[in-house]
């Protein structure tokens, strides 16, 4: 029997809690490391927390002076790169017994909102409130390129799976498609349903809160909040815009079947061709969609407000960090 045949299948309908750990501060972003040994999450106490999946031992990575809402791993597992709300980018040898930062850069003027490492591990893309997208040499930490053109805070970035192209999305729902060799914009994708100017609140609300390419690069998912009726309280509907990458047009709007108010904070595109997303507002939820169906195929109500979503390399485990400081690992394994 081939190895792939022996691997347990992921079945969203079977999603259930495997394990839960706790930190004493609300958690925000989370990722499994590329070796599959650790789960890391950022917290509102400015730390990153590392849990060993085997045994759940917790270690703090303390060094940021502000919130870390985004981090990513060098694919060989040598470091993670985390961006904070003071605009600093720190390289962490996260697997060491007592990790200390390897490098600290003043990367952006104001918040860093997203950090992504390229598929080949050579580049790091960051974006933030200075309206800029920046590319860094992942090994040397040197600035390689600055991409200008957004007119408002840049909320998210994602590398195309070919590593030569990048998307960045801002508060206004403008997605820019960049050619990294030329350093120029190829086109813009319209994600304006994920933005609203609230006349009562006199402020913009929304933005591209989450991004994910399908592994075959034919689809791009952008998530956030839409149909906002009350910006004061964040009353609106979670929405994922699923773009046909080649056409650059929205192919489908993915929405929860059940009534839910809130934001899509994290999306993963599973290799078995379904999407999972974590959202929160009045409570939390985990949804699963097939890319050809507008309504979710399964929904799991979560016990607290979820803030992100991460997929383990085994394709079976999902991690969700919560406002109450807990982090849960769910399994989608079809069999026990």
């Amino acid at each position: 029997m081939a190895e792939s045949d022996a691997k347990p299948k992921a079945d969203p309908a079977r999603t259930r809690v495997m394990v839960e750990w706790k930190h004493d501060s609300p958690l925000m972003a989370c990722r499994f490391d590329p070796t599959g040994r650790f789960l890391l999450a950022s917290a509102q106490d400015n730390s990153l927390q590392r849990w060993e999946l085997e045994g759940g031992t917790k270690t703090g990575l303390v060094g940021h002076q502000s919130w870390v809402r985004a981090f990513d791993f060098i694919p060989d597992g040598s470091a993670l790169v985390a961006g904070d709300y003071h605009g600093k980018l720190l390289w962490w040898p996260y697997a060491e017994a007592a990790p200390k930062p390897l490098r600290s850069l003043d990367a952006h003027d104001g918040w860093i909102r997203a950090v992504r490492v390229s598929p080949d591990g050579r580049l790091i893309a960051t974006c933030g409130n200075d309206h800029l997208v920046k590319l860094w040499d992942a090994v040397e930490g040197k600035l390689v390129q600055t991409l200008m053109g957004h007119t408002r805070h840049v909320y998210n970035v994602a590398f195309h799976p070919n590593g030569k192209e990048l998307v960045s999305g801002d508060l206004l729902g403008v997605i820019k498609h960049w050619d990294l060799d030329k350093g120029s914009v190829v086109r813009e994708l319209d994600a304006k349903p994920l933005h609203k100017y609230d006349e009562t609140f006199r402020a913009d609300i929304g933005g591209i809160r989450s991004f994910a390419f399908s592994p075959d690069a034919r689809l791009l998912a952008a998530g956030g909040i839409t149909d906002v009726t009350n910006a004061f309280a964040g009353i609106g509907k979670p929405l994922i815009l699923l773009f046909d990458w080649e056409a650059g047009k929205v192919r489908l709007q993915l929405r929860p079947k059940e009534n839910f108010q809130g934001v899509v904070w994290g999306i993963v595109y599973h290799p078995d061709n379904f999407l999972a997303a974590a959202g929160a507002g009045a409570g939390g939820a985990l949804w699963f969609w097939k890319p050809d169906q507008a309504q979710d195929i399964h929904m799991l109500k979560l016990p607290n407000n979820s803030r992100d979503l991460a997929l383990h390399r085994d394709g079976l485990r999902l991690a969700v960090p919560f406002y109450d400081g807990s982090i849960k690992i769910y399994t989608m394994a079809a069999t026990s």
Partner: protein
């Protein structure tokens, strides 16, 4: 003839006498109605300007967060992601969201120990505008109306209290004046625009306008001989005021300000509204309130404060500096406040909720000791630990800063009503 409803106190006479004395001393009585800005002699304009006390209230609608403004607590479980930055006053730090305001700190004072015990928008706003909690059967006048009465010379044709709002309808807010009467009501300029029908219809000639006004005057006088009330007084006066306002409508015309000033204040609504506020204060309006909306950030508090205070900071700092440069700050009391602060606890949606228990306001200008900080909250801002004050204390403080006696009474139906809450007192530490 003495007005039957008048209180008979010396308060009216005081402000009028003081004002006219100042005018006579500077020899510029004849220029009174036209405001100060148009005067030829800058020195005379400054002297005249300083003879009148004014108030600028910046109302941060919805409840600005004290932790993202005047009382930051970085590195604590409630502090959020922002830094505290130094200011022009050594030892005073405020949120990094206010870098321009930080450079004006020597003109400002902070009260970091407010406990109004009120988390309701309307009730909190009432406390902050009247210095009292709501009481059944009693409506107290708003600060703007009180100051319009106490600080505006009776023959000043301009409204004493102008409120610039981001939206809504322009008009008159007579409820603000309560028992003081509609004469001291606020005039709302929605989006900085004067009330509708502000200009005389083009079809109406000067002569026809004059004739209809004469007819109305005769009818009003005949009516007033038999029945005289605050309302009829205000009714008659509103026509005079309207006529004189129309003659001075240029004071509302922002196009007369330089493009450079428009750029300095910001091209957004709040920028335009604060530039208009400067213009109104320069032209002798006693009380100008500018509302900036909205800070009711139950969701995404940090994103929204970044956006809203990004507008507020540079504009407000520019206005304070301009008032200083133009010699008006020492005679203009500046207040920055909301109906309450926001919870130290960050909620599940990255928001902060209503919090009246431990929050801050900023004051500056006339009668205020720049660089003073009064009161203290605990390490993570959840409680006042030193010099707890409430709206009544602030109201007393405004009076004292403006050289007024807060222990005097209003008179309504011959009944004395204390101008400020008699159980409170001024916050002496912020007074110059």
């Amino acid at each position: 003839m003495r007005c039957a409803y008048a209180c008979g106190s010396a308060d009216h006479g005081w402000s009028r006498r003081q004002f006219l004395t100042g005018l006579t001393a500077s020899g510029t009585l004849g220029l009174f109605g036209g405001g100060f800005a148009g005067m030829i002699h800058p020195a005379a304009a400054k002297e005249l300007a300083s003879a009148q006390k004014r108030v600028l209230l910046i109302w941060l609608n919805g409840g600005v967060s004290q932790l993202e403004t005047w009382d930051p607590k970085p590195g604590t479980n409630t502090g959020g992601p922002f830094r505290a930055i130094p200011t022009s006053v050594p030892g005073i730090h405020i949120s990094e969201l206010l870098p321009h305001t930080a450079r004006q700190m020597h003109h400002l004072a902070l009260v970091r120990s407010i406990n109004t015990q009120e988390n309701n928008h309307a009730k909190g706003a009432y406390i902050m505008h009247t210095g009292r909690r709501e009481q059944p059967g009693m409506e107290y006048p708003h600060l703007g109306s009180v100051m319009a009465k106490l600080l505006t010379a009776p023959d000043n044709p301009l409204p004493g209290y102008i409120h610039i709002t981001p939206r809504g309808d322009s008009g008159f807010g007579k409820q603000d004046a309560a028992f003081l009467g509609p004469r001291y009501a606020s005039v709302t300029l929605a989006d900085g625009k004067p009330p509708a029908n502000f200009s005389r219809p083009e079809a109406l000639t000067d002569e026809a306008d004059q004739r209809r006004n004469q007819l109305r005057d005769r009818l009003s006088q005949r009516f007033a001989q038999r029945r005289r009330t605050a309302e009829t007084e205000a009714y008659s006066q509103s026509y005079e005021q309207a006529a004189q306002l129309i003659a001075r409508k240029s004071i509302f015309d922002l196009s007369q300000e330089s493009p450079r000033d428009l750029e300095r204040y910001g091209t957004h609504d709040f920028g335009r509204h604060c530039l208009l506020a400067r213009r109104l204060l320069e032209h002798g309006i006693t009380f100008v309130k500018v509302s900036h909306t909205n800070y009711d950030t139950h969701y995404d508090n940090f994103d929204f404060h970044l956006e809203q205070l990004g507008e507020f900071d540079r504009t407000f700092a520019t206005l304070v500096e301009d008032l200083h440069q133009r010699g008006l700050l020492s005679s203009t009391l500046v207040l920055v406040m909301s109906e309450f602060g926001r919870t130290p606890t960050i909620n599940r949606n990255y928001g902060r909720d209503h919090w009246g228990s431990a929050w801050s306001v900023a004051l500056g200008g006339c009668g205020i000791q720049g660089g003073a900080v009064v009161g203290k909250t605990n390490a993570n801002g959840t409680a006042v630990v030193d010099r707890m004050v409430h709206g009544g204390h602030l109201f007393h403080t405004y009076f004292r800063a403006l050289g007024l006696n807060p222990h005097k009474n209003h008179y309504h139906n011959q009944q004395p009503i204390p101008m400020a809450d008699p159980t409170a007192s001024a916050i002496e530490e912020v007074l110059a």
